[in-house]
Symmetry: C2
Subunit: 467 residues, 2 copies
């Protein structure tokens, strides 16, 4: 049957749309970090929605599992096939059309394979803003952003991908197309079906296009790197930043010294803008259309100084200076990769719990492994920490051996405090079972009921998200 | 069995929690407009979540349908039992606790029966804002706001109820409680289950509590009533209001002359602030913390005048003047009720289609009934029109006879232009079948799959939302 399936796929989609040579498959069966590696019977690359529908229908009829894949930049193994070699990777990379940009309705409709940065640029060309922004924006795709409910550095002001989607086009597991590409801000005509597919990691269907919200452009930015007396100060200053910022607050990012040290060591050209080392830093940005961003930043910093919530500040005086401040934040992930092994955690805490969490869990982890380096940073305004663990080069084996215990200690502290073990990276295979273990039975049953209702044969990205 | 059910409900919830006398039931089996009237075997009024769970479990075990009800202020018959008398109305009105207000996390957790205005007041007392605002805020409840995905006059800035909910507590059809009361801004650990219950009108479970987002208080308001040359101008001015308003734009409401006339005739004390009559008016409000609201309003009005997008303006010079301007908008619904019969439509159009819709559908309706009065108003910033039809007192019978044709003409024009036949009022029984008729087969199948998955016995508010 599967051999017949490949013939049918080739005859309907064209030979070039079906890859089966190992050399051609290599880039699709492993994720970009190299951590997740699987195998597949084929990679199918349809050129449009109708092709995706055909591919899904043929696979379903043959009882073959489908693994949807966008830019393959995920961090949880959600787009990598398992190692049985039985499944078909369905790449959306050829669905690259910007179908419509409507500046009056403030919407853009794009296909799943459009790269996030291309959407940002299309919005900018029309004098608008598409605010989703994350490290991989040059290669991640809108389909993947929808499937994983992507977050990033502007969530504080604009929300997650879920908040930016107005409508979706989805190929369902039976190969039918649901056209839910509505540009409406208000539509109370039943269950909000698009919500099912956002963040579902392709386990309920394949997103082929999305209608997204646009916003007024914010060409002026005022950016500062500040030093903080504590994590508590980073939390306490937030209402002040919101209120003194006149609604312009766009980013409030936390960076600890060990994270900054990694960047200063490994990122060419990076330099510490402060004379002495501090334990905690915050990267602050206001965005708007005029000088008001500078005025509001100045006012907010002054108020924060007066209340001793920040200790020192460097304000970017030029776009180049802004870029170098942001490089200190955005360079962390890459610097970690260069520096060697690390164990990553992407967690949310109720914001009032952040400080206690950091104070409590650090010593507990160091007790498990004395030379552990706590690389702590993230989107503090959303309660979201990238709480990563690294070790000196000669102790990587020790780190790997301790990984299970370390992660359990982190997740346990998160769960005890009512947090989430995946703030924005999703579950994939990496956190699928851990997430299930922290859910109540009721919640696991609800998850399963949704999965079974929409994908009764379990062929859509099996093994991801739900156990 | 049902008789036995009432005994079991009484013995577990207490006699006072189970009403069966017709006089006691009267207020629960009809909606406030008197348009929807049904009957019920009993009204059950549990005092807490455990009581709701017990009530639902006992009803489900007895095979008896449950009709959840909050403040009974809905406009689509979603909380009214059918006329078989077989079902039990489950009133949430005794679940009135504000469980927690967290000013750091900017959240409030309240039970389903808490009146919207009480949530607004609790937020204000803590120096925060809960932005949901609608005509019935003095009597509608949070549970109903969640179940219907309520909208109102601040959607433009803050979104619908769906956008304001962070977590939910829900009693499922089998009587189990799903505790999803998380205060997290980011949580990517599976399907977003809360989205299933928001806007589901109690057809998938009973919402017993919600954790809601709060915002910085906006004690300063700058408000103006303007006259508009056309509907097109009301749409075209929107980007200008957003950009000149520095993010402070909170309301942009459209009112036509016939709507204003109704208020001037029927609302005691109402007066026309302009010397001559105009066809279209806009009510504009900026909200913030300082004088900036006045400065921004002035700047926006000046820019709009220069571009001839507004013709005249009255700016409120005091809170009393602001109240009287808002009374002209908020008094429309009540004035319509006093004036006599009307046929209401709550529709959304893609915003670029609004002007053409109004230009096209009005003459088509007047062709059906020459003396028809087009009472047109709504949340133009969201593309949402309350497109209501009235008639002189001596032609009410004609209006009622033509109602079906008129509504079909309106919905058809909405559907042709890609709009929604229910922007914010939901479907209930009123629009259940019409909504189904405008959905694709695929979409109806998805709706049904969700309903069957969560409520396999079909006992949760049967006959509402889904046919």
């Amino acid at each position: 049957m599967p051999a017949n399936l490949l013939d049918r796929l080739r005859s309907t989609l064209g030979d070039g749309a079906v890859l089966t040579e190992p050399a051609d498959l290599a880039a699709y069966v492993a994720d970009w970090t190299g951590r997740f590696v699987g195998s597949a019977r084929a990679v199918v690359r349809p050129a449009d929605t109708a092709g995706v529908a055909t591919a899904v229908r043929l696979c379903t009829e043959a009882g073959v599992a489908v693994v949807p894949q966008g830019g393959n930049t995920g961090l949880a193994g959600g787009a990598t096939p398992d190692d049985t070699g039985a499944s078909v990777v369905l790449s959306l990379e050829r669905l690259r059309r910007v179908r419509e940009l409507d500046p009056v309705a403030d919407t853009i409709t794009v296909e799943a394979g459009v790269v996030l940065q291309a959407v940002q640029e299309a919005a900018t060309s029309a004098g608008r803003l598409f605010p989703l922004s994350l490290g991989s924006e040059g290669s991640c795709t809108i389909g993947g952003n929808v499937a994983t409910n992507a977050g990033g550095t502007a969530v504080l002001r604009y929300g997650m991908m879920r908040d930016l989607v107005l409508g979706l086009e989805v190929v369902l597991p039976d190969g039918r197309v649901w056209d839910g590409l509505r540009p409406l801000r208000k539509d109370n005509t039943g269950y909000d079906l698009k919500q099912l597919f956002i963040g579902a990691e392709g386990t309920l269907g394949v997103v082929t296009a999305a209608t997204l919200r646009l916003f007024p452009a914010t060409p002026r930015r005022a950016t500062a790197l500040v030093t903080l007396p504590s994590v508590d100060a980073a939390v306490s200053v937030l209402p002040l930043l919101r209120e003194h910022g006149g609604g312009l607050l766009t980013a409030w990012e936390l960076i600890n010294r060990q994270a900054l040290d990694l960047v200063l060591t490994h990122l060419p050209g990076a330099r510490d803008p402060f004379g002495v080392a501090h334990q905690w830093y915050g990267l602050l940005e206001f965005a708007g259309t005029s000088d008001e961003v500078d005025i509001e930043l100045e006012a907010a910093l002054t108020a924060a100084f007066e209340q001793e919530l920040i200790a020192d500040a460097v304000v970017a005086g030029s776009p180049a200076q802004r870029a170098s401040l942001w490089a200190l934040r955005e360079g962390i992930s890459e610097s970690q990769k260069v520096a060697g092994a690390s164990i990553k955690h992407d967690v949310t805490l109720p914001i009032a719990e952040l400080s206690d969490f950091v104070a409590e869990v650090g010593p507990r982890l160091v007790a498990l492994m004395p030379d552990l380096r706590l690389v702590t940073y993230g989107h503090v305004g959303d309660g979201n920490l990238h709480y990563n663990l690294a070790a000196p080069a000669d102790q990587e084996a020790t780190l790997r051996a301790a990984a299970g215990d370390l992660t359990r200690a982190v997740y346990s502290a998160v769960a005890t405090r009512g947090g989430s073990i995946s703030a924005e990276h999703g579950l994939g295979t990496l956190k699928r079972d851990a997430a299930a273990s922290y859910r109540s039975d009721v919640e696991n049953d609800l998850m399963r009921a949704v999965k079974n209702a929409l994908d009764p044969h379990g062929l859509m990205n099996p093994g991801k998200l739900v156990p």
